[in-house]
């Protein structure tokens, strides 16, 4: 039996409960609601919440338990019955408590609190769940493949008949190389754009340019990838790589890095813009009042004051660059390679995660399970970057509060 019926039942009972409790409260007051400790609609709210919340938590508890016990069939008949019983009990008990003196308003407050706590617990549990599922599969992988080879081998050559070389280093190298190039493009341009927008642009210009830049942030990355594939890649090959003898591949670290940089510009600029705007006007006035020019003020007072926040923004951009996949597949190719030549095709961790999990795969072989180890490594790296960024941003906030 599915859980649709109990869900409908809970919804109907709690909506009905609202109206029943409300009218009971009205009749208990005998028409004069000033006699009531709580307003009729507060009684209604309390009943609706008393009916719905425990039953919803019961559903979640069941789903969770079923997952833990690896119970894969439909729920046995007693589960929906028990859930509906819980809802009915909540309904009846709260209706019975409707009286002139009952403080339904405070009682409803308690239910709302538990609802909010429930939501945050779910958010945390899912994250923990994601980490654990990665962790289990990774442990599985490392039981079949030596971790020393995974972390320190410089060769990536999966072979589905077994005997693969699964060294992460060429993938990490590609990831870092492409990300660094992306940041080298995105950070100065994004930062200068932010300085222009927040310090120089008139209000009119700002109202036109800021949304325009933010539109860039809304473009799906696959579109950037296509741009890399058909425009930037061939362009770089024909005008830079071939004339200078760096190679003749259209897919290259430079292509992916450049396009990824374009993707990151709006991200860096809108974060930096917010941070620069948060620098108090009084500091600018103080500097201008001492006879410094606009750009001296920006260089010597505004940017140093905003620096920790800007560093935080750059780290966030870096963690996006590291996690990016589509632009790399279409821009840099899929060949794992440890090379310094920026016009050579390389690939990243994320691309290889996808390619190891697609196609004919056997979920027990190290060639497939390596994807989870790669994912976990990436997760740890971006987590570390994000924690660092948040720490820096927070320290910066404290400075002005």
């Amino acid at each position: 039996m599915s859980l649709t019926l109990p869900l409908l039942f809970i919804a109907a009972l709690s909506v009905g409960g609202f109206f029943i409790a409300r009218s009971r409260a009205q009749s208990a007051a005998g028409g004069d609601i000033r006699k009531l400790a709580s307003l009729p609609r507060q009684h209604g709210l309390n009943t609706a919440l008393s009916t719905a919340i425990p039953a919803l938590f019961a559903i979640l508890a069941w789903l969770f338990a079923a997952r833990l016990l690896s119970y894969r069939d439909a729920a046995p008949i007693w589960v929906p019955l028990a859930i509906m019983l819980i809802a009915t009990l909540g309904f009846i008990l709260s209706i019975m408590r409707v009286s002139v003196t009952f403080r339904a308003r405070t009682a409803a407050e308690g239910w709302i609190r538990s609802l909010l706590i429930g939501a945050s617990v779910i958010a945390i549990l899912t994250t923990v769940g994601i980490v654990f599922s990665m962790l289990f599969e990774s442990i599985n992988f490392f039981s079949q493949y030596r971790w020393q080879d995974f972390f320190f081998s410089t060769n990536w050559a999966p072979n589905f008949r077994g005997n693969s070389d699964l060294g992460i280093l060429p993938l990490l190298w590609g990831t870092l190389y492409i990300s660094v190039i992306a940041l080298i493009f995105a950070v100065p341009i994004g930062l200068f754009a932010a300085v222009y927008l927040s310090e120089y642009a008139s209000r009119r210009t700002r109202s036109v340019f800021k949304p325009l830049i933010e539109i860039l942030a809304g473009i799906p990355t696959i579109v950037y990838g296509l741009f890399a594939l058909v425009t930037v890649g061939p362009f770089l090959r024909d005008y830079f790589a071939q004339p200078t003898g760096f190679g003749d591949s259209a897919s290259s670290v430079m292509t992916a890095g450049l396009v990824m940089g374009i993707m990151l510009i709006p991200f860096v600029s809108s974060l930096s813009d917010d941070i620069i705007n948060a620098v108090p006007q009084s500091l600018r006035d103080g500097s201008l009042g001492l006879g410094s020019t606009h750009s001296e003020t920006i260089r010597q007072v505004v940017l140093p004051a905003a620096l920790p926040g800007i560093v935080g923004a750059i780290l966030l951009a870096a963690s996006r660059a590291i996690g990016e996949t589509m632009i790399v597949v279409l821009g840099a190719g899929a060949a794992a390679r440890l090379d310094l030549n920026p016009f050579e095709a390389m690939t990243t961790v994320t691309v290889k995660i996808v390619s190891q999990l697609t196609g004919d795969t056997d979920f027990a072989s190290p060639e497939t399970l390596v994807a989870f180890a790669l994912g976990l490594t990436l997760f740890v790296i971006t987590l570390a970057l994000n924690v660092l960024a948040l720490y820096i941003v927070r320290r910066y906030r404290e400075q002005y509060e």
């Binding site: 009084s282 006035d285 009042g289 001492l290 006879g291 410094s292 140093p304 004051a305």
Partner: protein, 259 residues
């Protein structure tokens, strides 16, 4: 703090000043002659345009997009709104101290050295050290901070921060010092210290101070101008304004009936 010498030079001469913020007419035809080596106080109810007028004297209103200033202001006879005058240079000559202490997020030393560095007032580190020490002494802060010059200026107490800002303004060797309610964020003890400092600064500068506290105007200034709704109602010796004002509006303000 009475001043007996009657012959004083006019340092700042403002004539027929009007200021508009967009449509809003914030200063209406104000003329005032400010003397050298004197503390001049601007008093008046909140929103009457004291800060606006003060900011005309170092052209800080130029940094506000919608502000428009007409009229003439001359410092030592030179028109500061002349197109040949560079407002950036002017602001080095006319220092400003703001309502809320606003030290830069730099060390105490770098706060004071900021102006001298920008304007190239020192040839080497030793000279810069000297300027910093001298300015901090003039800001009556040297003794308190001489052992921690390289700690952040933002770590000082409110009163110390404001004296740091005064020292910072003094370090560029200005001729005029503008102060916009410099004590309004300070406690009474810090206020007393800053007021004492203002009296000393009068030896070297022409000081113009905006204050909403009439007691403060009476304590520190020799001349007082009373502003009301964008007009300058009355300008005279401070003693005269507080004991025997000409205008009934001044009279009602100082006796607490308006504002």
């Amino acid at each position: 703090m009475k001043d007996t010498s009657m012959t004083k030079n006019i340092k700042i001469s403002a004539n027929n000043i009007d200021v508009y913020y967009g449509e809003k007419h914030a200063i209406k035809d104000v003329s005032v002659q400010i003397e050298d080596k004197t503390v001049t106080a601007f008093i008046g109810p909140s929103g009457c345009g004291k800060s606006t007028f003060l900011r005309c004297i170092n052209r800080m209103n130029d940094t506000i997009d919608i502000a428009r200033v007409t009229g003439h202001i001359a410092i030592d006879g030179e028109d500061i709104y002349d197109p040949r005058v560079d407002p950036v240079q002017l602001r080095a000559k006319v220092g400003m101290v703001f309502q809320k202490p606003n030290p830069f997020p730099k060390s105490i030393y770098d706060n004071v050295a900021y102006g001298p560095k920008i304007h190239g007032l020192s040839r080497n580190k030793a000279e810069l050290d000297e300027i910093v020490e001298k300015s901090l002494r003039r800001g009556a802060l040297w003794e308190e901070v001489k052992d921690r010059l390289h700690e952040p200026g933002t770590g000082l107490s409110g009163g110390q921060q404001q004296r740091l800002c005064i020292a910072r303004a003094v370090a560029t060797e200005p001729e005029v010092l503008l102060m916009d309610e410099p004590c309004s964020a300070l406690d009474p003890i810090a206020t007393a210290q800053v007021e004492e400092l203002i009296d000393e600064l009068r030896q070297s500068f022409s000081v113009v101070i905006v204050t909403h506290s009439m007691q403060q105007a009476a304590r520190v200034s020799q001349k007082t101008a009373f502003f009301h709704l964008g007009n300058m109602v009355e300008y005279d010796e401070t003693d005269k304004i507080f004991t025997n004002p000409e205008d009934p509006r001044t009279e009602s303000y100082i006796s607490g009936r308006i504002g």
